[in-house]
């Protein structure tokens, strides 16, 4: 402890105040009484929380976001797990390049990706809006899946796979009976990370939403443009609650050290 001086402790405290305070401010504001966002509020109520459920657009887009995030994550898992398995398990020429290719969607500016998909899927191919939205989300969360699954496969001892084979399991049985159960925490964490990123996405959705099909973050952005009441703050608090639960699951499954060891 003697390496940490008093000034360093104070500095760290201030930096963390910077990280935490805005979210605390939102939370306190959400419990305000007045029509306007005010911190600290003059009086407290939960009317804006109730109001969240009154705004029909929020409820509808929440369900759409949920649906898109779930389906996109599911498809990304179906596509991503086998790919992550092969690039972690086997050594072959071009493996590194392929890995970079699978992770490349994070390198593309999302707004550019959204615009390009919009141009291609909606304008050129005339796909339904929802399909386009789903495809966009699936592609951009594939890297999250591949990265998390690869990380948990890195700790997987392939000798136990050989053990299963020699005791009579074929390759497919081995995968489902031995490999999958041992990376289940990675699958859960990958699901949640992908889910959160899909659920929170704006830049891709902003191009791929259309008449009748919008997501919650998009709806929140347009709400903020016109109204400045604590409804959004209340909704934010509810979303933070969701984040808390999901983070808890990640902590349980993958361990938060995943975030510091990229």
């Amino acid at each position: 402890m003697n390496e940490k001086g008093k000034s360093l402790t104070l500095f760290t405290f201030l930096v963390y105040l910077f990280l935490i305070a805005p979210l605390l401010i939102i939370t306190v504001t959400a419990f305000g009484q007045s029509e306007f966002l005010k911190f600290p509020p003059d009086s407290f109520s939960i009317r804006w929380f109730l109001n969240v459920f009154e705004v029909e657009m929020f409820m509808r887009t929440f369900l759409i976001s949920l649906e898109v995030a779930c389906i996109a994550t599911f498809i990304a898992l179906l596509v991503g797990i086998p790919a992550a398995y092969v690039i972690s398990r086997y050594r072959f020429r071009g493996r590194k390049i392929l890995e970079s290719f699978f992770l490349s969607p994070v390198l593309i500016p999302q707004i550019v990706f959204g615009f390009s998909l919009f141009n291609y899927l909606v304008i050129k191919l005339r796909l339904p809006v929802f399909t386009g939205l789903l495809i966009g989300h699936t592609i951009f969360i594939i890297p999250y899946i591949i990265r998390v699954i690869s990380a948990s496969l890195a700790n997987f001892d392939y000798e136990i796979e050989e053990a299963a084979v020699i005791f009579g399991a074929n390759r497919i049985k081995t995968f489902f009976m031995i490999v999958l159960p041992n990376i289940s925490s990675g699958v859960v964490a990958g699901f949640i990370l992908a889910f959160i990123n899909s659920f929170n996405n704006v830049p891709i959705s902003v191009f791929l939403t259309g008449p009748g099909v919008s997501t919650l973050p998009i709806q929140m952005m347009s709400y903020v443009e016109y109204y400045f009441d604590p409804t959004i703050a209340a909704l934010s608090v509810l979303l933070m609650g969701m984040t808390t639960v999901l983070m808890f699951i990640i902590e349980r499954s993958l361990g938060l050290s995943y975030f510091t060891s990229k």
Partner: protein, 348 residues
Amino acid sequence: MALLSLDDLTVSYGDNTVLENFNLEINQGEFVSLLGPSGCGKTTTLRAIAGFVNPGSGRIVFMGKDYTNIPVHKKQFGFVFQNYALFPHMSVFDNVAFGLKMQKTPVAEIKKRVQEMLELVGLEGFAQRHPGELSGGQQQRVALARALVIKPDLLLLDEPLSNLDAKLRVEMRVEIRNIQQQLNLTTVYVTHDQEECFSISDRVVVMKDGKIEQYDQPEVIYRYPMTEFVARFVGFENFLDLKEKDGRLVTNNGIEFKLDRNDELAKYRVAVRPDDIVIKEVGGDRTANVLTAKVKISTFLGKEYQYLVETELGEFVVNAATVNRIKNGEQIELYFPEENIRIVKEAL
């Protein structure tokens, strides 16, 4: 006829050929060890027998049938891995039962056989534990039980004791040998530990660079190494070149050496253990098999001294239980008793 034979087996990883035209025969009920330094191809041989690596050419014949291309999971082989490779998400019971379940054995029978096997390896009462809750030795026993319970046609063990401490290693090897004899199991065992290998095996394959140097009973290998490599491996540290002159064998500086055996060779290289050379005072009446030497370094080993001595023919290592330490620089004579001298093929 042999139970298992490898005929002209060639195995390579990419450009690296590990085994080339490799031949080996193993009989029913035999315990055969593959011994050699790392990289000699012993593990590859074992993995080829199991089917984890595919030979580029050659055949594996088992019980008279061609086994070369039979998928791993269709063979009835037991395998014990170096790191045990227990299924971490399954209990001890489920680990051991795995092979039986794959064979669709009735549940009642699985229960009975797993129970019997756990008793055999001394793990009754551990059935519901998970591998992570067991010690290294216990994990080793589970791995063994898992391989034995399927009544394998062939048991393959890949350095199974290398992760255990010395005392446990000795205990386990006795146990493995007992079980193997009890069940009359044909076994192939990979190790780099000479003592372990000699104590447990019926026959030993000493390997180097993907080739067999010698394949024989442990006693024969220990006493009569055929090549310089094997000789060094089993503790022969002194080597001497002899040539034929007027029907006698002499060293390069003309001293006659009498040998136990007289093989017909153009060139003789002989090997002697440090313990098998006798130190004498200068001036004995014997002249054959004697070299004069000077002590360079002496080390106290406990029951004896080890001397590094210098002769006209190079340095020798001699272990001798002399009463007092012979001083450095002192002149001595080395006597090589003829029954202790082995003719070996030179290393390439």
